[in-house]
Symmetry: C2
Subunit: 212 residues, 2 copies
DNA sequence: GTCTATAGGACGATAGAC
DNA sequence: GTCTATCGTCCTATAGAC
């Protein structure tokens, strides 16, 4: 393939670059604190150049979240497909992950195993975890552009853990276990992000106690 | 006492009004999304009029947090002083509360009781809980004006719960119990705020399980 | 696909009158 | 204690050339 000038990337590549830069900036300042000018500068673009690709500031946020969903879907495959000698799997959703379809070809892993796998991946991408922590809190207000997204996300994740908990069959009702696991995951990750040098995997193992 | 015109309140009263308005606005938009103009308008002031009282935008955030600390201290008194027939206690820190001094005149309540009391109070002031949820996430970045405040706050709260857990003497190490309780509290509150109509007290009782 | 130019505001903050 | 006036900066977005 022929190379392009430094100032005229193909659209898909440029879009990926924009999303990468914007992800970091949103994780640091939230959506309200995000400046299109900063994103553009990070990409070596002017603001109109940036807007050509994402349409608007809201459009940029949507692009970020859609990209995360896609990455999470890819992460799911390698996460549940090959646990011991993993394929270079790229990413996973910070607070419990993508759509865990009810039955797969491989024997479905336990709730404890899925949590451990998610935690292991999240430990390697604190920036993404922080992105979700910040947007999750910021979007509590109904007029936030990602409000509906995060309401739906919470329900989806609760449903997925509930299904896993049902299979595991602990003493508590599956819905209760799901709420507890999700709360612990979110809370422990906040503590981790606020303690530089702490180890999320260790923190999770210590804190979670006995999971069904 | 003589009444003042509507446009010239005494400083203390005006300050209280400003903090009340700003608390609501920060809870909705975070610090980066806060506009001094909005705060001023809410108080029937111009921006310079507002700045006369708080000095700067950072000064306003500091005022909000100092006011919360003071309210939390007052809440502690009535919270631990008279559990059954409570004095009209005003407020309490959303994620585990003020300085619980080691020994008081009244017999120190158990960890479970303290959590229940904090949850009961937080259930009555979702706006304050959201204020802390938003600032807690936003301030993960070291350059946030409240970063140091929230790092110190996490440590203080962990220490306080650890002391309570030590007294209660469960099976797990007190520090581990403290981390678990704090994570559950933060996580459950996030779920509560994202589910309109849900009951925090019920949610906590269901989710927390057995506490020492 | 990226630019320049520019519209049209909102922002935080200061100076100085009353 | 509050105002008007103003500074200088930042912001998102559009129009239109290349």
């Amino acid at each position: 393939m022929a190379r392009h000038d430094r100032t005229r990337l193909p659209a898909a590549e440029r879009r990926r670059q924009i999303i990468t830069a914007a992800t970091r900036l949103v994780a640091e300042r939230g959506f309200w604190g995000l400046s299109m000018q900063d994103v553009a500068a990070d990409c070596g673009l002017t603001v109109p150049g940036l807007l050509h690709h994402v349409g608007s500031k809201d459009g940029l946020l949507i692009a970020i979240l859609e990209h995360r969903d896609a990455e999470d879907a890819r992460a799911l495959a390698s996460l549940l497909g090959a646990p011991p000698l993993g394929v270079p799997s790229p990413s996973s959703s910070p607070s419990l992950s993508p759509s865990l379809s009810p039955s797969l070809s491989s024997p479905s892993p336990s709730l404890r195993e899925v949590c451990a796998a998610v935690v292991r991946r999240n430990a390697s991408q604190p920036e993404i975890v922080r992105l979700f922590a910040v947007l999750q809190a910021e979007s509590l207000t109904p007029d936030h552009p990602a409000h509906a997204y995060f309401v739906a996300r919470q329900q989806r994740i609760l449903d997925e853990i509930t299904a896993l908990a049902k299979a595991a069959g602990g003493p508590a009702p599956p819905e209760t276990t799901a709420r507890r696991v999700m709360a612990l995951m979110d809370g422990v990750q906040l503590q981790w992000l606020r303690s530089p040098g702490s180890d999320l995997i260790q923190l999770w193992a210590d804190t979670v106690g006995d999971l069904p």
